[in-house]
Amino acid sequence: MSTAMTTTAAGAVVPRKDKAAATASLVEMCSVRLGQTLFGVPISHILEIVGGARPQPVPLAPSFVGGLVHYRGDVLTTVSLRQLLGMPPKEGTQDILVLESKGGCFGLLVDSVGEVMTVSSADHEPNPSILDERRRALFAGAYKLKGSLMVMLDPERLDPMRLGQNFAA
């Protein structure tokens, strides 16, 4: 699931080292804020972060499609995390994480992109059962940070092709 990192990049966040961490690997996550929740996307899957985008809506598209954006000469389909989680749309511009998955590139529309954090796989826990079915299918567990939780997002699960099969609503 998480990409093994042999060296840590210049990380301000120093991972806690307990005994279990000897076998645990470190992952760099790009933090993303959406409403009150902190999400993380492994940076190894991120091609680029595009700020201040206004995606072009696509009439009749499935609701999770956030629209189209122009990206390096190509037209990129975006997935709106807000729509996916059933949150009201945000006014103004949004940030886009350009992600790579098996089905090709796509964009993930989020409110704002934060700093890159290094987390340890030792702090990872699977999805708690209290989450609803849709969220359990979208989230890939959570990392326990100091004082907060970071919900892990797996680009493969957010691929519009896969979403189209699972949530064709």
Binding site: Q56, L60, A61, L68, D74, V75, T77, G103, F106, M161
Partner: protein, 765 residues
């Protein structure tokens, strides 16, 4: 695989392609030493390099071929049909080994002993083993033909073919040694010519090889993408710097360089159609032998260039079409002779550029397609109802062969006839934005026409507005635009229950409201507070009007693919970035028709209309604008019509008694032989219609009361003499006078009325 091997593979493939072209030419000119030298060189190069790279199996086979070619080149042997067949098998053998190397990085463990033995046998004139077909189930019995001194004893099952041109023959025909002898005397005579012929192209090839470079197609694709990006950035720079006079020069230069760059990159992707045409002689040769046909292949317009990816895309459809022509089109020689035709059939491949399209034609002079058989087959296969089939015109019936699951071959042959022929051709061609048409005359032959856009990436489109967004509508499907002003919006729309219709020149056009389609809900009606536009579209024979909120400029758009999720919506065929950096979705007219439920009734109606005309020669027919002038009908050749103007009769002025129209500062003579002007003389507010036509290099106007329709006219022939009549045409089964535009007298240089004003046109219906 290392770089050296890869280079070798590419080079060898090219060499073999060249060899294949030469081999098929060789059949027609067996004494052409230039061709032989070229073939020899290809094989020799492969042999030399393989030895170096250590591909022993390839080297052995190439060596055997080289020996045979050496003898041929020195004139010790003559390239007769079995020899050529042997050489073609050598070519296939070499190719298959190369393919194995490409896939597995090793030669594989095939056995070429049989082929090598056969090549060796061919080296001894008279000691010939018949060439085995590539996949013969039973091994050919070995036998030795008697020596040359006893030509009568050579095992020949049919008269020895004298000309080794593509000739139908059975597998076991031995190389006719006598032919070799007979041809040998000609050899010296022809050799001199051939030498000089071959000398020139050889020089050209070397020069080309030195000045060209192999480039990976993916790199070109990437360059194309980046240039597209640059164009957009340029547009934004131009907009941003428009106000700054210091930047004008710089931005203009950027503009020019970008345009040049884009053109160059596009040009780099173009390749001549000869790249795929050159594969056809071999296919024709092999098939005509297998099917027992005699076929001459004619190729025209080889230099026509097409985008590389499109060229790849039409390769299969073209091969299919050629196979079909040979299997179903061109008859066996005896049938042809019985029908009074030349025993040798002609298959013609033609390519030509027509505007932004490339036309590719495959035509044969074979039996043609029996319309009755098509009709029967289509009904039998349940592709169409019997009633419908009976009502279809010949032309429409022919298009049925493009339906999936259609095949008229009485028996399933291994060449074609599995019912997956023409529909695949159509699907492949339509996938790249092209069109296929078929024309056939029983007993005369069949022509398959493919219209392919010049480049895949760029198409002309009209940008329309709806639901506050821009959409691109491909021009190919757009036949006309109708403007409905707010004042007419309320009554312009008519209803049959809840189906909105618009009366376009007296005919009902189903309407599809784009905004309602995109955002379901609300009622269908024209907006009364602003202008409405109807884009009249023709999609797969379905004609309908798409109502949009606004029109923007037509633009050449760069098509970008959509992700699968959005393609599945079914309305969009792609997306594009507009000049103002906005994104626009490209609408797919066919899917819109389907989604909106515009069914085939429109087509059936058209079919009925066309049905009445097919007795006349449709292929040669011309389209006419049918007009009505004071109760009489007349026809104006559509090609000459520039515009149709509706205006108040008071705008017509007179020079003497000649009516003229002052149109945008230019004087247009008005032709009023129908008496339209006279009929409304008392009422200056009355509306009349002026059809503005081109006549030579001047324009003339024709006053009419109504424009009725556009229809194809048919030729009429005088009874007895059978001469084609002029000035009249058969339009919708009525004899209709054609307005004689040339007869409209020129305006006098001075404004005095001419004296020779007379009745000019016959407009009796």
């Amino acid at each position: 695989m290392d770089e050296l091997t890869r280079e070798f593979l590419i080079e060898s493939q090219e060499g073999l392609d060249r060899m294949e072209r030469c081999l098929t030419d060789l059949e027609e000119r067996p004494q052409d030493t230039g061709l032989l030298a070229e073939i020899f060189r290809s094989v020799h190069t492969i042999k030399g390099t393989t030895g170096f790279l250590g591909f022993k199996r390839l080297e052995k086979l190439a060596h055997a071929g080289e020996n045979l070619l050496g003898l041929l080149r020195e004139g010790k042997l003559t390239a007769d049909t079995p020899t050529t067949t042997g050489l073609l098998q050598l070519l296939d053998g070499l190719r298959s080994i190369l393919k194995t190397i490409e896939a597995e990085d090793s030669e594989g463990i095939g056995e070429d002993g049989e082929l090598i033995a056969q090549l060796e046998a061919l080296q001894t004139p008279g000691k010939v083993k018949p060439p085995a077909p590539p996949k013969a189930d039973t091994p050919e019995p070995k036998f030795e033909a008697p020596p040359v001194s006893a030509p009568s004893a050579v095992v020949v099952q049919q008269p020895a073919p004298v000309a080794p041109a593509p000739v139908a023959e059975t597998v076991a025909v031995a190389a006719p040694a006598p032919v070799a002898a007979r041809v040998a005397s000609d050899a010296e005579r022809v050799a001199a010519e051939a030498e000089t012929d071959a000398g020139k192209p050889r020089v050209a090839t070397t020069a080309a090889a030195e000045s060209t470079l192999r480039v990976d197609v993916t790199l070109l694709n990437r360059m194309m993408n980046l240039v597209g990006e640059l164009v957009l950035t340029r547009n934004q720079v131009l907009q941003a710097t428009a106000a700054d006079p210091n930047m004008t020069l710089l931005s203009r230069r950027l503009d020019m360089v970008t345009a040049d760059l884009r053109e160059s990159v596009m040009k780099a992707r173009m390749q001549p159609v000869s790249n795929i045409f050159s594969k056809m002689p071999r296919i024709v040769r092999d098939l005509s032998q297998a099917l027992g046909r005699k076929v001459r292949l004619q190729v025209e317009g080889q230099d026509t260039e097409l985008d590389k990816s499109l060229l790849e895309a039409i390769k299969d459809p073209l091969t299919h079409a050629v196979r079909n022509s040979l299997d179903h089109g061109i008859e066996p020689p005896d049938v042809r002779l019985a029908a009074g035709k030349d025993a040798e059939g002609t298959l013609k491949l033609r390519a030509a550029q027509e505007g932004s399209h490339v036309l590719i034609e495959v035509s044969d002079d074979g039996a043609g397609i029996s319309v009755e058989k098509v009709r029967a087959k289509a009904v039998e296969r349940g592709l169409i109802s019997a009633d419908r089939a009976a009502s279809l015109a010949e032309r429409e019936l022919l298009q049925l062969i493009f339906l999936p699951g259609f095949s008229t071959a009485a028996a399933v042959t291994n060449v074609s006839g599995r019912g997956v022929g023409m529909d695949v051709v159509r699907t492949n061609v339509e996938k790249i934005g092209g069109k296929v048409e078929i024309d056939s005359r029983t007993g005369k032959g069949t022509t398959l026409r493919m219209r392919i856009p010049l480049t895949l990436a760029i198409i002309p489109a009209l940008i329309v507005r709806s639901v506050g967004q821009s959409f691109a509508l491909p021009q190919g499907a757009l036949s006309e635009l109708v403007h409905v002003p707010p004042s007419q919006a309320a009554e312009a729309i008519e209803w049959i229950e809840d189906a909105p219709l618009y009366r376009l020149r007296g005919k009902l056009l189903p309407l599809v409201f784009l905004d309602k389609l995109l955002m379901p809900g609300g009622e269908h009606k024209f907006a009364t507070e602003r202008d409405n536009f109807i884009a009249v579209l023709d999609a797969d024979g379905r004609r309908f009007g798409l109502v949009v909120d606004g029109l923007a400029d037509p633009e050449e758009i760069v098509v970008k693919p959509l992700s699968a999720v959005l393609k599945d919506i079914g309305l969009y065929s792609g997306a594009t970035v507009l000049g103002n950096a906005d994104l626009a979705l490209i609408l797919d007219p066919g899917s819109i028709a389907q989604k909106a439920g515009v069914n085939m009734t429109a087509e059936e109606e058209a079919a009925h209309k066309a049905g009445a005309e097919t007795e006349a020669d449709v292929a040669k027919s011309m389209e006419y604008l049918l007009v009505e002038a004071a109760e009489r009908q007349a026809a104006v050749p559509l090609a000459d019509v520039l515009r149709i103007e509706q205006l108040k009769v008071k705008r017509i002025e007179y020079i003497g008694y000649r009516p003229v129209l002052n149109f945008e500062g230019q004087l247009l003579p008005i032709e009023d032989s129908g008496g339209v002007l006279a009929a409304v003389q008392g009422d200056p507010e009355a509306q009349i219609i002026v059809v503005v036509c081109r006549e030579g290099n001047r324009h003339v106007g024709i006053a009419v009361s109504h424009v009725l329709d556009v229809a194809a006219g048919g030729d009429l022939f005088e009874a007895g003499t059978n001469l084609r009549t002029s000035g009249v045409t058969l339009l919708k089964n009525r004899v209709t006078g054609v307005v004689d535009l040339g007869g409209v007298p020129p305006l006098p240089p001075e404004a005095n009325a001419p004296n020779d004003w007379n009745q000019l046109t016959e407009t009796t219906a």
